[in-house]
Symmetry: C2
Subunit: 370 residues, 2 copies
């Protein structure tokens, strides 16, 4: 994997770049749509390309449980299995073990947990997490980590940082393939000194990139941005910075200003399925009666397939009637909105006008849906 | 509307032709995918075009109840509302009033019924059915009919035939637009003489085409084919024949042999969503464990998007994981299978080898899934 910084903004910490993987190059700052079970929910790979997605994320925990990483390996790997030829990042499974699995017990060795699908008992440690990710064949793997809930006792967080460093070392040691990059995951909760400790530990081990885990777990946005700001300085400037599971459009704008290169979040896809559409002028609840006869597209500034061909009235009808097409059209729009936001941010960075762009962004968000 | 017969098969009653409507031409024999609520479930208009669908059907009853035909009219009609620029046939609402609505009472004037959506009370007679269909703006409208359940008393069926003739006359009289064709619906249950009576009544009124309603209501296939065979002779040979709500691939093959020009059925779309896929070699239940690691496409003879890019193993995974993409990929395949069957039948008719084609069709169906 190669990371090339193209431009550093003069007015903030933002930067543009590109990351070249075994399955092609993506521009940074990048947003990665989430394809939890080997499918970005409700859309096809062709949809994703048309939307402008350049890299997607898939979940190790889910694919391990169903259909099983060995099946995917025998069928030629995840790219072939899901018909996506571009870059894929696979997470470590750490976050899902904590957020989805049933009864779990943590030891130095790893985590024993119960499947959320059928209650069966499983064990994943750093070696297993890498083994699974190597079977999937993603372009960027994540080291296994202990993701701490929030709020948490400082002592618990400190211990998780210690364990995460151990597991990161073992993840690195277990990695066998040259064509798969690996990122370390910085933990430390909302504690500046523990984040620094975790970052220093991982940087000493030497990863291809560094992620901030344990965010978007219930903390407010100022806290989240403070943690990013306080931690990012400990990451070597020639390595990509990835903030995991974040976030809202505002998080993307603020994250980019702080120097974040990669984001992922289920928000655009999940909200789409719940009928909440992101627009330049804020969120649109498509089931609202005010859209029943509205011939306008969701967002007049958006050039996506949905906004090009369908009215708010039709999208409302599909959603009210629970038509499957509703989920696809809404998802296409929300992902296109996110990808357009990232493209605009990249342009703003390259033209040294991120601050002006951010002001416009917030002004538009405040005007409300026309 | 113009119907042009291109070729009559020498070896059976089959014929090829084309029907030109206000929104373009479609080839016959034709299969019409069903877009009940203004969307062919799980696919987009672009998907339909790629699949080879040339005309779709939409349901008057459903669109009247939700979002309401007046909303669709004010938004520019159904074509624009749903972003489908090709021919659309709208049914009369008769069948749905009998099969879906709650408490209903029938009089000479029409039918009072309760909405299956919210229980509210509504009235549709022939004038209302045409009014709604004119608001929707489909290319082919259907006269309002009384669809009889099966089995039914002969006297009840005879009365339904009488009422259907009355309503057909009033439907014709209420029709105002020249760019919308109208078909009459022949009833008469499984009684040859009542079907003849109904056909003679409607032909005397003079419609653009003639449909057989009241089939696929529980009768067996030999009975269904007998009714089609016995009735089709009373329809003028220069008018298209449409068998409503039929059917399975075998029904299409047999219907074409008898001279049927148009079909519609929810079977390919509904089965797709239930995980049943049609193939040259019979039905495939995609959730079966035997497909868990099967790298083959659903049907090696099929060139659809699904069969081109995805394995049985992936489709099984998506279906088991309840991924929304499963419904789209399965629907694309099943509709492509139906459209390919019709295209092959048209070719067979034009080459006077329908009987040979039918033999091959049944031989392949019997071989089982490879």
């Amino acid at each position: 994997m190669e990371f090339r910084v193209k431009h550093r903004a003069s007015d903030c910490g933002a930067r543009t770049g590109e990351i070249t993987t075994a399955h092609g190059t993506f521009e940074t700052p990048a947003f990665m749509p989430v394809g939890t079970q080997g499918s970005v929910k409700a859309v096809s790979p062709e949809d994703l390309r048309e939307i402008g997605a350049q890299i997607i994320l898939s979940n190790t925990y889910h694919l391990y449980l169903r259909p099983g990483h060995n099946i995917i390996r025998r069928l030629g790997g995840l790219h072939r299995f899901m018909h996506w030829s571009g870059p894929i990042l696979t997470d470590s499974g750490g976050f899902q073990v904590y957020s989805l699995a049933g009864l779990r017990s943590i030891s130095e060795k790893g985590v024993t947990f119960q499947s959320h699908v059928d209650g069966s008992t499983h064990f994943i440690g750093p070696e297993e997490a890498i083994e699974i990710q190597q079977s999937l064949g993603g372009d960027i793997m994540m080291a296994f980590d202990e993701c701490v809930s929030y709020p948490a006792e400082r002592e618990y967080v400190a211990n998780a940082v210690r364990l995460t460093t151990q597991w990161a070392r073992r993840s690195l040691e277990h990695k066998k393939r040259g064509n798969q990059a690996i990122f370390g995951i910085i933990q430390g909760g909302m504690h500046t000194d523990l984040r620094e400790q975790s970052a220093r530990d991982l940087v000493a081990l030497g990863f291809d990139g560094y992620a901030l885990g344990g965010l978007s777990v219930g903390e407010d946005r100022p806290t989240r941005l403070r943690v990013i700001r306080d931690t990012i300085g400990f990451i070597p400037p020639d390595r990509p910075v990835y903030v995991m599971g974040v976030g809202a459009p505002e998080d993307l704008v603020e994250g980019v200003r702080l120097g974040v290169d990669m984001f992922d979040c289920v928000m655009p896809t999940r909200n789409a399925r719940n009928g909440t559409l992101f627009t330049s002028n804020g969120k649109m609840i498509i089931k609202n009666a005010r859209y029943a006869e509205d011939p306008k597209p969701v967002d007049g500034r958006c050039g996506c397939y949905t906004c090009t061909h369908y009215s708010r009235a039709y999208l409302r009808h599909l959603f009210m009637a629970r038509e499957i097409l509703a989920y696809r059209l809404n998802t296409i729009h929300n992902l296109a909105h996110y990808c357009r936001l990232m493209a605009e941010l990249r342009t703003a960075v390259s033209e040294d006008r991120v601050e002006a762009y951010a002001r416009e962004f917030y002004d538009l968000q405040r005007t409300g849906i026309p």
